[in-house]
Symmetry: C2
Subunit: 205 residues, 2 copies
DNA sequence: CCGGTTTCTGACCGCATGGCCAATTTTTAG
DNA sequence: CTAAAAATTGGCCATGCGGTCAGAAACCGG
């Protein structure tokens, strides 16, 4: 299936379908069992195929996981971007929308968000290097910092370390995920509004 | 070593020493390799003993890990408590001291904090039950909420969800740990002050 | 010096994992 | 229809895991 020549051939219909199916089943498996227990065997079982098929389409488990992360991140991005861009006028409104949209996305994409967080917390190595992705994730932090800097430039925001603020906001948002599982009835709209209020007060000039 | 009778005998000198040594080596191993890679074999290697010794003194790995968590949490508690109690007069000052002491503790106990966070994030199961500890940890959240409620009662703080605020504060603090590794020169005093400022503004009436 | 107890070793067990591959079935194209 | 290519199977592998155990060694009171 894989051409060894320089030019990459268009993936066959089956190839795309299988890849998508396997990625989807990986998400299901991680959501159901947690990242550490989501083995290739489990993923294969859910797809009703043999493990070998996964190896056939993905070089190794890392590539599969990277694909899962990419998929979720892409969905996330296309949800967030237009909502934030719509508020270009005010950094304060951008920040509010950033936080609220983020939480709202979690409400409508619970499974995917859970899986993302699970992978990121379990795969991220303290010692740094083999960190498979995190670049895509880290870039999210950069965008957040940009909003903050813009607000400081326009005078809407007070002076503060944009780094510390950005990390705190991200952490506060990420902290929602575990609570969704612990308490499925959690009112996420209210939660998002609370969070937005907290960081509105924290940033305002 | 273990008496089967009801009355527990005083642990021998060797027993206490070994237990302490093993716990210490477990901390080293987790700090160096990360929780998932800190196997009994690795821990034993660092202690220059055979795996069997660990099994001899600890029923299973869970008990060892529970001991590690307990040790770090105890040190943390005895560091924090007096500092916070000293500010009994004002909830706002208590909160500030809570945040700054927390970050300061991280500065002086980097390894132990790293290990704690590593264990907690990796061991916490989404599906809940086998959650070995987390009670001790969760109780920290309660104390934080108490400070917040007190501030609301005295009118120092505005109205907000103490739960959301407490989780956000904890998350913001916990978010420091990974950055310590990524950037060992991080100015934690400044970081703590920034964080305290953020949540001072967010809570003030 | 002895005999029992505590401590410790190193080999071993069963299990699950990620990955590999020869053989087979299915699809595709001439 | 046929033969090459793509897709799939199922068994196999080495590895590392947590945990166990018989027996050796060290220790200690009498």
């Amino acid at each position: 299936m894989r051409s060894e020549t320089g030019e990459r051939e268009a993936p066959s219909f089956i190839e795309s379908a299988r890849r998508a199916q396997i990625v989807e089943c990986a998400i299901d498996a991680i959501a159901a069992l947690g990242y550490p227990r989501a083995s290739l065997a489990q993923i294969a079982r859910r797809a009703r195929i043999s493990k070998g098929v996964i190896s056939y389409y993905f070089a190794d488990k890392d590539e599969l996981i990277r694909q899962v992360v990419h998929e979720v991140l892409t969905a996330f991005d296309s949800y967030m971007r237009p909502r934030i861009e719509a508020e270009r006028g005010s950094a304060a409104r951008m920040l509010r929308v950033y936080i609220e949209s983020n939480v709202a996305f979690m409400a409508t994409h619970r499974k995917h968000v859970l899986v993302l967080v699970d992978i990121l917390t379990h795969e991220r190595r303290f010692d740094g290097k083999p960190l498979i992705d995190a670049k895509e994730y880290e870039s999210g932090l950069m965008e957040l910092e940009q909003i903050l800097r813009r607000g400081q430039r326009t005078g809407e925001f007070r002076r503060f370390s944009t780094r510390v603020m950005a990390v705190s906001i991200r952490q506060a948002i990420d902290g929602v995920a575990p609570q969704i599982v612990a308490n499925p009835n959690l009112d996420l709209d209210a939660y998002g509004a609370e969070l937005a209020e907290i960081f509105d007060l924290a940033t305002r000039a």
